[in-house]
């Protein structure tokens, strides 16, 4: 299944293997989401990670719109990422990124914030898209990818002001980090992708506060 492949792709990029299979936690029925969390169920969002902590145990479910999943599977983004499927790809990848990040941190007893999850998801989207698009159709999609993912971005209108500000901050920080990656590793005669992965893997393990400090320093 495509989601499992996206999970493997992110695990490889960040060298962060997660034992739990994302497909075992997938929810495609919006009514179930509404039962867990009414506002999310009513929001119309195509992707949501539901997390609840109870008696020291973590309950997790990843909702993804079934129509989005069907469209994405039919368009084979791992071999053919293009203008038509980029948005669906990013939406699904964001969900898998959240799932991986929560599972990875929980297994180590690390805390993770919404800002940290959102920022990591933005960075994961950029890294995965660069890696895939760089090998497809002469790398055409890579040019302008940073601008598409970070500048031409829009947020859901039903978000409250605090959450919208948090998403905007995550986007801003991720844009800065990925811009620096692009400058250091990709805008050269010969791209240094293995070095870029090394930097991504180091960053993944910094923790939320460390990640913010790292970005502020670049």
């Amino acid at each position: 299944m495509l989601l499992r492949e996206l999970q493997s792709l992110l695990a490889t990029i960040n060298d962060a293997e997660v034992r739990d299979d994302v497909c075992d936690y997938l929810i495609t029925d919006r009514r179930l989401v509404a039962r867990w969390h009414a506002p999310t169920g009513a929001s119309g969002t195509p992707e949501a990670l539901l997390v609840a902590e109870h008696d020291g145990a973590l309950a997790v479910g990843l909702y993804l719109d079934p129509l989005l999943l069907a469209r994405l599977a039919a368009s084979e983004p791992l071999a053919r990422l293009d203008d038509d499927n980029l948005e669906d790809f990013c939406t699904a990848l964001e969900g898998v990124s959240h799932f991986n990040c929560v599972a990875f941190c929980a297994a180590r007893g690390w805390s993770v914030s919404i800002l940290g999850l959102e920022m990591q998801a933005e960075i994961d989207k950029y890294a995965a898209a660069v890696l895939l698009a760089g090998t497809q159709r002469g790398g055409a999609l890579v040019h302008g990818l940073h601008q598409r993912l970070f500048e031409r971005v829009r947020f859901r209108e039903d978000l409250d002001a605090a959450l919208a500000a948090l998403y905007a901050k995550a986007n801003r920080y991720a844009a800065r980090f990925c811009g620096k990656l692009e400058e250091r590793f990709l805008r050269r005669r010969r791209a240094r992708v293995p070095d870029m992965l090394g930097e991504l893997r180091r960053f993944y393990r910094l923790g939320d506060a460390g990640k913010l400090r790292c970005i502020e320093a670049v």
Partner: protein, 206 residues
């Protein structure tokens, strides 16, 4: 073999060597002895499903090429990287050469496999060339990279000998010629009564 009967062979390696030599001669493709040996071994190995597919919790599956590439790029050691690149090159060559009909049902093009496989072998040639021990195998990977499309043509020839062409094959041959400019596809189209027109080819850059 084209009449659908089962052909008994004493050794798969000998069978593939004979078939490859015949197909290469027909395609005017000259291969060094070590390269021919490499391809024959790869074909014989991948004729076993457990060598071609990878075991997963949901059964034997083939990993997407992009994931294989990601593993190669992110490998911790040179040996791991070379192993991953070799698998990527071999799987790409086998699918494009031996299972070309699988592209008819997919959006993924044969030229994507040719580009991925060719680049994997080319990277392997670069990374093995440095050592005295690696120089011989570097020449093999270099030849596989340089003649990847021609090899795909030769393997297509072997695969197609196993079954007569259908209308779907005609369409697939035309698509392959459009995408890769394969001389073999052009020759087969002519043999089936279709003259490929040069103006209809799309230029692809990889």
């Amino acid at each position: 073999m084209a009449d659908g009967t089962v052909l008994r062979v004493a050794s798969l390696e000998e069978f593939f060597r004979d078939e490859l030599q015949g197909a290469a001669e027909k395609q005017h493709l000259a291969l060094a002895g070590h390269t021919e040996h490499y391809v024959v071994n790869m074909l014989a190995t991948f004729s076993r499903a457990d060598a071609f597919f990878e075991p997963t919790p949901s059964g034997p599956r083939l990993k997407p090429l992009a994931l294989m590439l990601a593993e190669a790029v992110g490998a911790r050691t040179l040996a791991e990287r070379q192993h991953a690149l070799q698998r990527l090159g071999d799987v790409s060559l086998f699918i494009a050469g031996f299972l070309p009909q699988s592209f008819a049902r997919k959006l993924v093009d044969i030229d994507y496999h040719i580009a991925m496989g060719g680049r994997a072998y080319s990277s392997l040639a670069d990374s093995t060339r440095g050592s005295a021990r690696g120089r011989g195998i570097a020449a093999v990977f270099g030849e596989l990279a340089a003649k990847f499309r021609e090899l795909v043509d030769a393997l297509n020839e072997i695969a197609e000998a196993a079954r007569p062409p259908t209308h779907d094959d005609l369409l697939r041959l035309y698509e392959m010629w459009i995408k890769t400019g394969s001389p073999r596809a052009a020759g087969r189209l002519r043999a089936l009564g279709v003259e490929p027109a040069a103006t209809s080819r799309v230029r692809w850059s990889h």
